[in-house]
């Protein structure tokens, strides 16, 4: 034995340790991979040895290599070996390695269950700690299920070090094994009031994380968190709580009202920016959820905006960024308050930091109005000119278009201005967004009829100066706008001033250098133009002009007939033949214009982008069904109607497609494209389809001549958009003046009737009338289109499983106590197993039929009397209990909850104790309603409780569902029953007063002001005597679990046999 050890340590002397490895890697920079592979071989040798120290060293080195990106999954079993070493040093390394290398699919994880369990119950707290930390990284659903109970036990460990780790890891356990949430929750909640601040903050962390995902189940904890918020000074904890409230308020607007004050106080007082930021964010969230209900929050909004302004003005880039981010949240609901800081936000556009500039751009998007749109866009245009990086400039460009086109061009008062902005944007060099500008041009020209004359004139100039754009063309950049220009000029050619000139421009030889799809549009629209020209010229007496035009077409078109692009070629040859035929007819003096223009007659209406998707599937048509027998894998691949149904594909894709992985698909697509390109019989889809022109097939093949222009481009003859800003200003002023005149007249007339009327304030949004009467054509949708939009919630969200109703657990009436199946799995040989079963039976009984809750008022009163009696008795017992309390110090945590539970059970009117597990649900309503409380606080509480309490017979599921609606319900209920309530309260008051007189000495703590306040704030007064607990029977007990039953209550209450496990 000794020899073995000696041998081992001698071996170790020659081993590399971690430091040697790191040093070695640093010294072998040239052949790192080779060096590491020899190291891995050594490690493999080391792992074969029996010496655990050697193994641990090897595992440690492997962990380092794993970080460098080497696969070490082969050593998983060795890691488990090291984990199970009895020595902390090795165990620590083992767990570290496991936490870095293991994941859910590591098969040896199954082997670790017992080892981890052993470590969890180790007498050494650091063993436990290391196991918990490791487990938090690689916990699997199986491990979570098997170890949930052990971890739950650790939550009540004597050492806070363990408690806090156990509490934190529970979150991971819940995620992996949602069934554990219900049984573990009461204890978790208990930890919110743990004496150790670390444990407390851990519990806050976990509950906040849970609640953020499923807030409605945690609404009942609001009073408790409110208390924590107002009492805690730990910023880390405060931030979590405030975030939690941010998630809760949308469900319960009254909570928001309650929060505003403490939050604004914090905003005023705190010096921690992180806390300030969190508060501001939550206040914003609260105000958003309140925006309809509370009119007097402008002060809070002002405060937030003010603070954010300070953040934005700060020199710290981080604060600036966050300030802008938060500002954009306010913007949605309170645009006016943000708009007043326009100067500051425009200033941020000049910031050095691109991410700040982008944030500012986002804000601007929401800040525009009819009034300031032109001004803001003008500023942005200046930035476009100044911007150096193309990415940022492209971002600016898209933002300008976004801003202008938002909500159906809502803010544009002058479309001539917008068209000239778009034209100005075409001067951008090397932008990727040519197609974006193009689609805007098309959209505006098609949908705003009034603007067509202007748009056509602009587009004609663009076409005329196309050489300036194409000269600057980089790949498929800006020349896309020529596509739009050609189409607009062709389609609306009746508005052209000089159609012959435009036609000439469209048939220039230079056009042949444009991408194919654009050429195709040129050719097609040249034909349209030709038709219009014929129509114009045929009316004239001189027929030579018409013949000249035909001759020009015949001269120029052959260039396109020779095009390598099939689309261009086909169209050109068709049209060429047509024109030749027309020429023949013209020579015979036949009038053809009528027939030629009939070719292009009819209006093209815009179709909504989603229209195709929205066509309802006719009944009885199964799109997924095969029409013919499914073909074999290899064929039919290239026959897919790709251009038309590409969007549909993900929806109706045949299962066989989903099986093929992306790489394979990409490869096939490539092959297909190649094949199509080489196949002379393959006809590409019509370029009039939007999709094709965006994809721009075959652009790469076109030789691009690049001309370096050092002088900034100015397309001659184009109006500057700035002009319009001025014009618009003048126009508005005129209008205003006219309005004022009218108003003056009116006022004069009215003056006799009334006194002076207030002067008309600054121009409001509605006052601005658009420059043209604009009719924005809406896009067409198919008949009976389905209005639905897809639900985009992720079904795989792990938090979904944690949407578990927890309130029932807190109710003493236990509408849905833990069923047998919900118990956490416990190892069978555990001592606790046996005594547990009777208790479970008892609980099961509990779950079965419950008395209907609604009772006649008489019954209630009776009950109250009973309770009164109970209370008297309990008062007597209290004294006894005090002694007990001292004795049972360590039990206090569990006991407290239990006692409170019993108390509220037997006497519902007893003051609400936020610390109790029971009262919250019913008292949440009361806590929230800030109504003036009469002296008989208890009675009011009872009423509120009775009302808020959903009927007990309701199954738990529906109770959970109705949770978010609760506020509404109760509110209406309250208003309905308010009369009734008042009566009741009066009665009760009278009763109460009588009672008071009788037993004043018993009631001192209920009727005094302190008690009242404690209810309102949801705080517990420490001095308050604790309710009785003497009437508990101990059922079973071991070191982990104590079971007690409460049998000593009124006979009527026997149906609520109370079981507590602590």
């Amino acid at each position: 034995m000794a020899l073995k050890i000696v041998k081992g340590s001698i071996d170790r002397m020659f081993d590399k340790n971690l430091q040697d490895l790191v040093r070695g890697i640093r010294n072998h920079k040239e052949d790192e991979a080779k060096y590491i592979s020899t190291c891995i071989d050594e490690i493999k040798q080391e792992l074969k040895q029996d010496n655990i120290a050697v193994k641990a060293n090897a595992v440690c080195k492997l962990t380092y290599l794993q970080m460098l990106g080497y696969d070490v999954s082969w050593a998983a079993f060795n890691i488990v070996e090291v984990m199970s070493s009895s020595k902390f040093t090795y165990k620590r390394i083992g767990y570290l390695a496991a936490s870095q290398c293991f994941h859910e699919n590591t098969d040896v994880i199954m082997l670790t269950t017992n080892q981890i369990r052993k470590d969890l119950s180790s007498p050494n707290q650091y063993d436990t700690g290391v196991a918990l930390t490791g487990l938090s990284c690689f916990v699997t659903p199986d491990l979570a299920r098997d170890l949930a109970n052990d971890i739950m036990t650790l939550m009540s460990h004597t050492k806070p070090y363990i408690r806090k780790k156990a509490v934190l890891i529970m979150y991971k356990v819940f995620l992996k094994y949602p069934e554990s949430l219900r049984p573990a929750f009461p204890r978790l909640k208990e930890k919110l009031e743990d004496p150790d601040p670390g444990v407390q903050s851990a519990a806050v962390n976990v509950i906040c994380e849970l609640a953020r995902r499923n807030p409605k189940n945690y609404l009942s904890l609001a009073p408790l968190f409110f208390k924590l918020m107002t009492s805690s000074t730990n910023n880390w904890v405060l931030i979590k709580i405030i975030k939690l409230f941010g998630a809760l308020t949308p469900l319960e607007p009254r909570l928001g009202k309650k929060l505003i004050e403490p939050l604004t106080n914090l905003i005023h007082s705190t010096s921690a920016m992180s806390l300030l930021y969190e508060c501001v964010n939550t206040v914003i969230a609260v105000l958003i959820s309140l925006s309809s209900g509370m009119p007097n929050h402008s002060a809070s909004i002002q405060l937030c905006v003010q603070k954010l302004r300070i953040l934005i003005e700060d020199s710290d880039q981080n604060l600036k960024y966050l300030g802008l981010l938060a500002m954009s949240k306010i913007l949605k609901t309170h645009p006016k308050s943000v708009q007043s800081h326009k100067d500051l936000i425009l200033q941020c556009l000049d910031d050095k930091d691109e991410s700040i500039r982008l944030r500012a751009l986002d804000l601007l998007y929401g800040m525009v109005s009819k009034k300031n749109l032109m001004e803001i866009v003008k500023k942005l245009m200046i930035h476009v000119d100044k911007a150096e990086g193309t990415t940022y400039r492209d971002e600016l460009l898209t933002k300008i278009i976004d801003i202008c086109s938002q909500s159906n061009y809502q803010y544009i008062t002058n479309f001539e201005w917008y068209i000239s902005i778009l034209v100005e944007l075409t001067r951008l060099e090397g932008t990727r967004h040519g197609h974006l500008i193009a689609s805007q041009m098309l959209d505006v020209a098609i949908r705003v009829k009034a603007i067509r004359v202007f748009a056509v004139a602009q587009m004609a100039t663009l076409l005329d100066n196309a050489h300036l754009l194409t000269g600057n063309m980089q790949r498929n950049g800006i020349c896309e706008v020529l596509y739009a220009a050609a189409w607009i000029c062709g389609e609306f050619s009746e508005h052209l001033e000089n159609p012959v000139q435009t036609l000439e421009a469209m048939l220039r030889p230079k056009v042949a250098t444009l991408p194919g799809h654009i050429q195709a549009v040129y050719v097609q629209n040249a034909a349209k133009l030709f038709a219009t020209i014929l129509k114009n010229q045929e009316g004239n007496t001189d027929s030579t002009a018409a013949q000249e035009t035909s001759q020009m077409m015949i001269d120029r078109l052959p260039l396109f007939v020779q095009s390598a692009n099939l689309e261009v070629q086909e169209r050109a040859s068709c049209i060429l033949q047509l024109v030749k035929y027309i020429q023949k007819l013209q020579q015979k003096d036949v009038e053809v214009a009528e027939e030629v223009s009939a070719l292009f007659a009819g209006e093209l209406n815009p179709v909504a982008p989603k229209a195709q998707k929205k066509v309802p599937v006719p009944e009885g048509l199964d799109l997924d069904a095969w029409i013919n027998e499914p073909p074999s894998e290899s064929e039919s691949e290239d026959e897919q109607p790709k251009a038309i149904f590409t969007k549909e594909e993900p929806k109706h894709s045949r299962p066989r497609h989903t099986e093929v992985d992306e790489k394979e698909l990409a490869r096939r697509r490539e092959a297909r494209k190649q094949e199509q390109a080489n196949n002379p019989f393959y006809i590409k889809a019509s370029p009039s389809s939007q999709k094709v022109y965006q994809e721009a097939p075959g652009v790469e093949h076109i030789p691009v001549v690049q001309i370096d222009l050092s002088v900034p481009l100015k397309v001659p003859g184009l109006p500057m958009s700035d002009q319009y800003v001025k014009l618009e200003e003048e126009r508005r002023q005129k209008e205003r003046a006219e309005k004022k005149k009218k108003e003056k007249k009116k006022r004069k007339e009215k003056r006799s009737g009334r006194g002076k009327k207030h002067d008309s304030g600054p121009e409001s949004e509605e006052d601005i009338t658009p420059a043209h009467v604009v009719d924005i054509v809406t896009e067409e949708m198919p008949e009976n289109a389905l209005p639905s939009d897809d639900d985009d919630k992720d079904p795989n969200d792990p938090h979904k499983a944690l949407d578990i109703d927890l309130d029932n657990l807190l109710e003493t009436t236990a509408r849905r106590p833990l069923a047998d199946s919900e118990k956490l799995p416990v190892r069978s040989h555990r001592a606790a197993g046996a005594p547990k079963s009777p208790a479970e039976d008892g609980e099961a009984e509990n779950a079965t039929p419950q008395e209907p809750k609604k009772k006649s008022s008489k019954e209630k009163r009776d009950k109250k009397k009973d309770k009164e009696r109970d209370r008297k008795r309990s008062k007597e017992e209290k004294k006894k209990k005090k002694h007990k309390r001292e004795e049972k110090e360590e039990d206090l945590l569990g006991g407290q909850a239990e006692e409170a539970a019993v108390q509220s059970e037997e006497t519902k009117e007893v003051e609400a104790q936020p610390s109790s597990t029971s009262a919250e649900v019913s008292d949440l309503d009361f806590w929230l309603s800030n109504a003036p409380v009469p002296s008989n606080t208890q009675e009011a509480a009872t009423v509120a409780a009775a009302e808020a309490d959903p009927a007990p017979e309701a199954p738990a599921g529906t109770a959970a569902d109705s949770e978010p609606e609760e506020p509404k319900d109760t509110e209406t209920e309250e208003s309905k029953s308010s009369k009734h309530k008042k009566k009741k309260q009066k009665k009760e008051k009278e009763e109460k007063e009588k009672k008071k007189k009788k037993k004043h000495h018993h009631h001192h703590h209920h009727s005094d002001g302190g008690g009242e306040e404690s209810v309102q704030n949801g705080t517990v007064e420490e001095e308050e005597p604790l309710p009785p607990m003497s009437n508990y029977c101990l059922l079973a007990e071991n070191s982990y679990i104590k079971m007690v039953s409460d049998g000593d209550c009124d006979a009527r209450l026997w149906k609520f046999v109370l079981l507590s496990i602590c």
Binding site: I5, V6, S9, R12, L18, Q19, V22, A53, C60, T63, Y64, M67, G69, D71, S73, K87, F88, T89, R92, I93, L96, Q100, H103, N124, Y126, G129, L132, T133, S136, C137, Y161, K164, K165, L168, I169, Y171, K172, P197, G198, A202, N205, E209, R212, N234, W236, I239, K243, G246, S274, E278, N281, Q317, N318, Y321, L322, K352, D353, E354, S355, I356
Partner: protein, 157 residues
């Protein structure tokens, strides 16, 4: 918090901690992508960026970048504080920490991180108690080791 990365200006990963199960391949891809983005940012830029569906908070200390990925609703500023706190802890433990300390004692750096954060949540907000826990665990390790060193001497003798 989803994960935390430490990497050098040269783009060498020094520490990685993943708080959600992620496949090894995705991890590598994400790390590479993030390093590229973060290293490309200029020093005067703010410490936050939006990346995929996450928010990235990073901070540079000397030649080391500390980089955390948090979720949409998380607080960026508190994450910065977490990073700073971690650096403080390292600093206290190693005594004016430098990159080499973390390279050569990478397991210690992990232990400190694990004492400070667990499952992506802050475990203890007090610096003292974190350091105390680590010290005591180290003490335990030394106790473990000391008898063996005696044996080693025996072996040598």
């Amino acid at each position: 918090m989803r994960f935390m990365l430490l990497f050098s200006r040269q783009g060498k990963l020094r520490l990685q901690k993943w708080y959600t199960a992620t496949a090894e391949r995705d991890k590598k891809k994400m790390v590479r992508e993030l390093m590229q983005i973060v290293l490309a940012r200029k020093p005067k830029m703010c410490s936050f960026l939006e990346w995929r569906d996450l928010k990235i908070v990073y901070k540079r200390y000397a030649s080391l970048y500390f980089c955390c990925a948090i979720e949409e609703q998380d607080n960026e500023l508190i994450t910065l504080e977490v990073i700073h706190r971690f650096v403080e802890l390292l600093d206290k433990y190693f005594g004016s920490v430098c990159e080499l300390d973390i390279i050569f004692n990478f397991e210690k750096a992990y232990f400190i991180l694990d004492e400070f954060l667990m499952g992506g949540e802050i475990q203890d907000t007090s610096k003292k108690s974190v350091l105390k826990a680590i010290e005591q665990a180290d003490l335990l390790q030394e106790e473990d080791e000391s008898p063996r060193s005696v044996l080693e001497e025996m072996g040598l003798a």
